[in-house]
Amino acid sequence: MTSQQVAMPRVSGGIYANMCDVLQSSGTKVLHFVVGLVALLALWWLAIFLVTLDPSNSQFKDFAPRAAFEALPALWQDGIIPDAISSSGFRLGMGMFLAIVIGVPIGIMMGRSLWFQQLTNAPFQFLRMISPLSWEPIAVVVFAGWEEAIIFLIAVAAVWPVAFSTAAGLAKIDPSWFKVARNLGAKPWHMVTRIILPAITFDVLTGIRLALGVAWIVIIPAEFLGVTSGFGYAIQDSRESLEYSSLMALLVVIGAVGFVLDSAIVMLIKRYSWHRG
């Protein structure tokens, strides 16, 4: 082989330097994470402090960070938080499962077939613009129980980001990959399993991330009525029993659970993304 420009394979000579870089980068990220959260807490504390300067607003003291964090252990020990995580988690999981099972094939069809895309564009855009919660009265009539109705609402909220992201991923596939695969003897199912699915994993996961955000927002008001479990019910219960510190503690937990779920999807996106940039 004659001389040519080559990219050298990665060598282990700079392991120490690489570790230093990684540690420095991780340290900066942790610092930003902590500073951001402290700033949020400070703003929360400041808002309640300013409101309660007026003695007539003293009832708002229960909304302060300290009261909320003091209420957390009792909520955990009484099983309110574990039960809410379990109930809301089950509904979220089922709703997301349905959204993925329905949304990914729809997205693939939209991305692969111009005819299907043109036929479905108007009805899908129309349906997408209907607030998921506005389906609630219909869902309650159609389904036997509230449980199924809430799962339906989550699926309705989550299906569109999944479907449209999948379709966008399909649109970005290099048509030459199909030509190369066909040239090497690929059958139609190879095109789906070996080309399409790996190529769109990033976009599907991005759609799931968006869908999860929407679903997590929708599930709380959806649980305000009809059910006696989940975060929505727990918040409603705290409000009705005037336990505002518990209400604020539950908001903290809802935010934390949502953050953890989102972070998990981000990790999956990083793991399966092949995009460089």
Partner: protein, 263 residues
């Protein structure tokens, strides 16, 4: 790697696009004996690339036939594999996975796939990069992966559609020599489509010039030179000049028709 070449016979091959009026090329006849490296030279638009896609089974001919050892080509097959202008590698795969992807479409055992992939990677001298993601490679290395991906199928015929035109001069020259050397060592046929006369002289045993509208073979020349071929060699220079004269002659092939149309 067990590869052998094939006798190629193209008879009366005609192609016309359904959506466009006119014929791309008309009644092309061409033969290539087992193990030959054949270059098809022509200007852009003369139909040489379409001809190659038909031989690869990726396009259908309007009329005529292509036979390898007497058997007609009726679609893509691992026996006749095409290498494109760009490597078109699958960016979510490593070098090893890209090279072996065609074998995973067939019913090969894991052990066979691993052994053939390792051999193909050795042939293109990318052993140190086997586990690297293909996005970490240079353009030349990526084209070597595409070459290994074709070779691993043990094709009788390798079709090259201007495969090195996007590479820098040094990498291009290196790959031209390497592909010819591998083809001669393993014995498979090559059909190379190019508009680069130097490439044809370095890589081919015979060059045909395609010109006209509709396109057809208007000239052919044996490139009977010893290997390895050096651009500075007077024999190479002489054949290059000869081929260039024929190419320019072919470029005037359309002029009377164009003049008649203008008149």
């Amino acid at each position: 790697m067990a590869i052998r070449g094939t006798n190629i016979k193209i008879e009366g091959l005609t192609h016309r696009y359904r959506s466009r009026s006119g014929v791309t090329f008309n009644r092309v006849d061409l033969e290539s004996p087992q193990g030959e490296a054949l270059a098809i030279i022509g200007r852009s638009g003369c139909g040489k690339s379409t001809l190659l896609h038909i031989v690869a089974g990726l396009l259908k001919a309007s009329e005529g036939s292509i036979k390898l050892d007497g058997n007609p080509i009726d679609g893509p097959s691992p026996k006749w594999v095409m290498m494109f202008q760009a490597p078109h590698l699958f960016p979510w795969m490593t070098v090893k996975q890209n090279v072996g992807v065609g074998l995973t479409f067939g019913n090969w055992s894991r052990a066979t796939i691993d052994s053939r992939v390792d051999e193909a990677i050795r042939l293109v001298e990318l052993q140190d990069f086997a586990q690297s993601n293909v996005q970490d490679l240079s353009g030349g290395q990526q084209q070597r992966v595409a070459l290994a991906r074709s070779l691993v199928m043990e094709p009788e015929l390798l079709l090259l559609d201007e495969p090195f035109s996007a590479l820098d001069a040094f990498t291009r020259s290196s790959l031209q020599h390497d592909v010819r050397a591998i083809a001669k060592r393993l014995g498979f046929n090559i059909i190379l489509v190019t508009h680069d006369i130097d490439e044809a002289v370095i890589m081919a045993d015979r060059a045909v010039i395609m010109a006209g509208s509709p396109g057809n073979i208007v000239h052919e020349l044996d490139v009977d030179l010893p290997d390895p071929r050096d651009r500075g060699d007077p024999q190479v220079q002489k054949l290059r000049a000869e081929l260039m004269d024929s190419f320019q002659e072919a470029a005037n092939y359309n002029k009377p028709k164009a003049a008649a149309l203008a008149g």
